[in-house]
Amino acid sequence: MIRHEGRERYVALRDVVSNKAKSLFSGKRELTSSAYEEFKALDDVSFTIEQGDRVAIVGRNGAGKSTLLKILSRITSPTKGRIILDGRVASLLEVGTGFHPELSGRENIFLNGSILGMSKAEIKSKFDEIVAFSEVERFLDTPVKRYSSGMYVRLAFAVAAHLEPEILVVDEVLAVGDAAFQKKCIGKMQDVSKSGRTVLFVSHNMSAVRNLCNKAILLQNGKLIVQDEVEPVLERYLASNQTGQLTGNYTRPDKKQSDVMLSSAAVVDAQGEERNAFEIIEQVGLKLNLTCNKPVPNLYGYVVVKNSNEEVIIESDTKDLPPNALDGITEGNTTFLLTIPANTLSVGEYTVYLSFSSSFAADFSVETPGDVLRFAISDSITERGHNRRSYTSVLLNWQKK
């Protein structure tokens, strides 16, 4: 169990150090608080974690996640507050901490293991397991400086994966190795958590978080925003994460006119009402208002729907199948409705990218609006719900014949 009460920390900026050194040598002593800005990396972050919980700590870059882990693993000390840890803590803030390039794989296993807090006997008893996990048996007596980077990382992770503390603190380290190895790592981490250990896990990889954790904490600018089950916290996080405040409707910000431009757009439901949250069984409509000031020959439109990992889920343009709906539109406003059928997109957040062009685009001014709309799909209807891992929400009918 980890208890963690209101605390804050002042991160001394590098400049402070050099300023002080400067004043030391130039004899100036008037360095006052105005000379540097005080910055609290963490402020008033209080929470309790029960034994056996696997807790994800999420938040944007600079939210204070790594500082929190560093304080919990006693690398830096807080300036205020109190932390109570019941159990041995092992922290994994980096894979391969202390690996020495000149030493062989075998020697590095022992060195790294002891740096991570294992005793010699412990390392010896797990040695074969570690070697098997790392898949580098053949090169065990080669200096690790001759390893490929993949081998290096595998060996490093293999040692770390065999740590058996009561509390494991892990920073973004699973993003290593090839896909197969990553899967193996996640599997290993799941085993660790199943054995009743408490795990604190920082990651930007939402699927890893969903796979591993049962609780989550959201940090923002050094403050604790919410602590709850994984899904509600992740939703909150993803919502707060939207860059540029994209929403379910869009109005063209510029006053300047172009020959063809997207004047407004909106996400609508089957009834035509504007909405940006849908269930998987609902269809999603994209209503686009196109203003044409001058007819452009061969005009075509292109739309992409991306998930939160920037993966393209739908890509479609008006030239896919004739006729091209945009070819020969006349001056004035035209509204288009693009419908994404129900049970297409899986649970998640989606961004709509739009662009318009023409093979004669050089002679005309045609705008590329870019990312314009965002909407979310959730599933509170099916049994599997948010645990469905697929890219689509197509539900297959088990028809008896």
């Binding site: 150090v17 006693r74 690398i75 830096t76 000390s77 932390i83 901490t97 002891s114 740096i115 009561e166």
Partner: protein, 281 residues
């Protein structure tokens, strides 16, 4: 579970520090072991370097001071053995001191990623120099055979003086290591201290030249005696060379006092700065 309860609070870290050091002694051995393994990796003559370097310096010092400078170590004592008895502890000190002083910066990747009592890092580097020292004892043995010189019973006190050398190197090393974390200026000061120390310590000459010399003013003798390496080297000479040397106990006591003081203040300063290492380094 509760025997592993850890409470983290500002200003609280001190409580279990020495118990933690015991707990992390495995890491101490491994870091020392790593440094030993890595020491002569990818060198052709390897460990012979720890004999070569002091041996060549001894040859040069003997030639310059004895043959050119007409210095003498007393009737029964070959000059080379006297230089050797000063050179070995000096080599140990300069090695241990500079390694310890640079150790925190050299291991900054560990400091920022893992918790352990930071004292382990400079302490473990001393082991490497200690092993080098034991290997270089071969030179002393060789010279004794060559000059048909047999040390007397006082040689049993040699470990005590080695301890004193360790205390001195650790004390100075901890101090500079902690300072080096914040002020990298010390990276340039360390080689200077080592080079300068070689001339103000009795490596190529005997302390008798200072203490037993009427024409050296008293205040210079006092300043000279405050150099902790004077005590260490004089102690080594006393225990190795035996009868022919005089140990000036007063001055020796002063040097020892400085060594011990250095260790205590070194540890104190190191502990005080330790908390901020990971932030500053």
């Amino acid at each position: 579970m509760s025997q592993h309860r850890i409470i983290i609070e500002p200003g609280r870290e001190n409580n279990n520090y020495w118990r933690d050091i015991r707990k992390y002694r495995g890491l101490f051995y491994f870091l020392a072991w790593r440094d030993v393994l890595v020491r002569y990796k990818q060198t052709v003559i390897g460990v012979a370097w720890s004999v070569m370097r002091p041996l060549l310096t001894i040859v040069v010092f003997t030639f310059v001071f004895h043959n050119l400078g007409n210095f003498s170590a007393g009737e029964s004592i070959p000059y080379a053995i006297m230089v050797c008895a000063g050179m070995l502890p000096w080599q140990f000190f300069s090695g241990a001191f500079s390694e310890a002083a640079n150790s925190l910066v050299a291991n900054s990747n560990l400091l920022t990623k893992v918790y352990f009592p930071r004292l382990i890092v400079p302490a473990s580097t001393v082991i490497v120099s200690l092993i080098d020292f034991f290997i270089s004892l071969v030179i002393l043995g060789g010279l004794c055979v060559y000059y048909q010189f047999v040390p007397d019973w006082r040689i049993v006190f040699l470990p005590l003086f080695l301890m004193l050398a360790i205390v001195t190197a650790m004390g100075a090393g901890l101090f500079i290591a902690a300072l080096n974390v914040k002020y990298r200026d010390f990276r340039y000061i360390i080689p200077f201290i080592v080079q300068f120390g070689l001339y103000i310590s009795p490596v190529g000459f005997s302390s008798e030249l200072i203490f037993g010399n009427e024409s050296v003013p008293q205040y210079l003798k006092v300043i000279y005696a405050l150099n902790p390496m004077v005590g260490v080297i004089d102690g080594f000479r006393w225990s190795i060379l035996g009868d022919g040397t005089v140990l000036h106990w007063m001055e020796f006591g002063a040097s020892c006092g400085i060594s011990v003081l250095l260790l205590f203040t070194g540890v104190w300063y190191f502990r005080r700065m330790e908390k901020s290492f990971a932030d500053v380094i």
